[in-house]
Homo-oligomer: 145 residues x 2
DNA sequence: ACAATTAAAGAGTTTTATATCTTTAATAAA
DNA sequence: TTTATTAAAGATATAAAACTCTTTAATTGT
């Protein structure tokens, strides 16, 4: 596995996909999303239920229902998605998994690893979903599988 | 989970522990190691078998046997341990898990994430186990659980 | 040769992550 | 008010990671 769990990868891809597809308040269904991001539909449904419950995305049932994102949703940092799924360990945890690890009692990787974690935090915490989406909309980036 | 799998955390801790305890060519047993790094003994045994097979550490059976590290072992980069257990995804993979992701077809995180991955690679690939161990030996860092 | 010690190997079990299938509830439109 | 459509929820199923237990093989010292 990479840095994030597979579930978290699906979640991020889905969020970008929804943002990309619902700029105007329209909705996009689970089928379209799961095909668009190449993930198992039912599994993704669970993930989106979770994100929806947490207010990271929005959903509506019934005909013309589906998932969508408001300006409020778009203004959130991507770290909200990661934290919702994978938790905070990736932003805070010791590389070696030591509980005692700290500046006062650093593990062999502590200082250098902290710098890397901080960069990751800055990237995910400091950038809104909206701004990632702008690059997607103007074709500078892509979600091609 | 953090950036590395639990198995990989154990592996790194064990490698540091062995290096720390066998500076002179002596050996240290699985019991001591697993207690020293707070990991399940039998599970760690499997991990160390694997590292031993790959030549990352050494072992000897019988009385006064155990695990140890030679100068050759110590000169290797820590990335060898990580790669042996977790593979290369963490150094090379797309943050969103996309196969097509590349400079020519970048995902929304591509450029910034690549910089972070490169820093991680530089840290693990560019630093020998020995040099991490030196900090441990002179008390600048610790493996306290 | 024998007994003791140690890692290696093999064969599980348990837990967590990932994935699937079915039923229910909400909503919209006819 | 009925039907169609959609997400939510519930219940399993499968696969992978983490962990345990038992047996075997190698080595040492007596």
């Amino acid at each position: 596995m990479g840095v994030f769990s597979r579930t978290c990868e699906y979640a991020m891809r889905a969020v970008f996909f929804i943002a990309h597809r619902t700029p105007d308040g329209s909705r996009v269904g689970i089928k379209d999303i799961s095909e668009g991001i190449d993930s198992p539909a039912h599994f993704l449904a669970k993930i989106l239920q979770d994100l929806s419950r947490r207010g990271i995305i929005n959903s509506a049932k019934g005909p013309n229902g589906g998932f969508y994102m408001t300006e409020e949703n778009l203004s959130r940092p991507l770290s909200d998605v990661v934290e919702a799924i994978d938790g905070v360990q990736i932003f805070k945890g010791c590389a070696l998994g030591l509980k005692q690890c700290s500046v006062k009692n650093p593990c062999p990787l502590h200082h250098e690893f902290k710098a890397i974690r901080n960069d990751l935090t800055k990237l995910l915490n400091g950038t809104s979903i909206k701004s990632f989406n702008e690059d997607l909309l103007n074709g500078m980036t892509s979600l091609k599988k």
